[in-house]
């Protein structure tokens, strides 16, 4: 009881496609921008926080390099290895999002 806690971990990278749309970190790490964005949102549900392009796709790829890695080879439990190697099992998940709030971390 209380053991075995697991999760789908998340991290994100951000790329600039259009300089008029600020990234999550650009807004959060600049106090003036963050305040202006929040103010615009509170006043009229407007501003940088609502420039939302949406989630444009998701892939669950197989990354073969993972199965040749030392970390994979070092897994001792054969059942775990078999689970990971199942041909239908993806290695990871990648989301594509277009928004200043694409980033969770």
């Amino acid at each position: 009881m209380g053991k075995n806690l697991t999760d789908h971990l998340i991290l994100s990278l951000e790329f600039e496609l259009n300089s008029s749309i600020l990234s999550h970190h650009q807004i959060l790490e600049d106090p003036d921008l963050a305040e202006a964005a929040l103010k615009a949102y509170r006043l009229g549900k407007n501003g940088d926080l609502v420039k939302f392009g949406g989630s444009s796709g998701v892939i669950f790829p197989r990354l073969e390099k993972i199965y040749k890695s030392k970390e994979f080879i070092d897994i001792k439990d054969p059942e775990t290895k078999e689970f990971l190697m199942n041909p239908g099992r993806p290695s990871t998940e990648i989301w594509f999002m277009v928004t200043p709030y694409s980033s969770i971390s």
Partner: protein, 168 residues
């Protein structure tokens, strides 16, 4: 990320407080998946389809992003440092009362908590593994399976149709 092998705990502290220790990245395999996921994202960012559209990397590992960068040449440590700095939970934390066969596991196949007369747990904590999907699906299936068992046990009739109705 999918198929993380690290396992955390939920315990109760001396003052009754709940202590969640996710223990993320404690298994080196998870860090490998994270590193190769970042390489895959960088590879996508250099795809011909994006050519000219991506102007810069605004948030990422300590590397200079450029259209002719050598992704495989980036040292693992550089990517690992970024992973450790930013990795976060995915709101899919579960499996802390895992169901098991043959006397193993916190709950039995009827969702009954072992050691208790008639206390059932019907939520994502009973899933022994985290599957490769949004956990909402698992929650629906667990709810439906448990509902069928409880109805049957109490003499009720269960149709073969899908009981769960989604609002979406």
């Amino acid at each position: 990320m999918q198929n993380c092998l690290s396992r955390g705990t939920i315990t109760m502290g001396e003052k009754g407080q709940i202590i969640v220790d996710p223990n993320f990245l404690s298994n080196p395999f998870d860090l490998r998946v994270a590193i190769e996921t970042i390489r895959a994202i960088l590879r996508i960012s250099l795809s011909p389809k994006w050519k000219g559209d991506i102007k810069a990397m605004l948030w990422g590992p300590e590397i200079k992003w450029s259209p002719d960068m050598d992704i495989d040449g980036i040292p693992d440590e550089v990517l690992a440092a970024f992973v450790r700095k930013v990795v976060n939970h995915g709101y899919h934390q579960m499996s802390t009362l895992a169901m098991g066969k043959g006397g193993e596991g916190a709950v039995d196949k009827d969702f009954k908590l072992r050691g208790f007369e008639s206390l059932r747990v019907v939520d994502l904590s009973v899933c022994p593994i985290l599957t490769n999907n949004h956990t909402q699906v698992n929650a629906y299936v667990i709810g439906e399976v448990a509902a069928r068992k409880i109805i049957k046990e109490n003499g009720g009739a269960v149709s073969n149709g899908i009981m769960a109705q989604s609002n979406y």
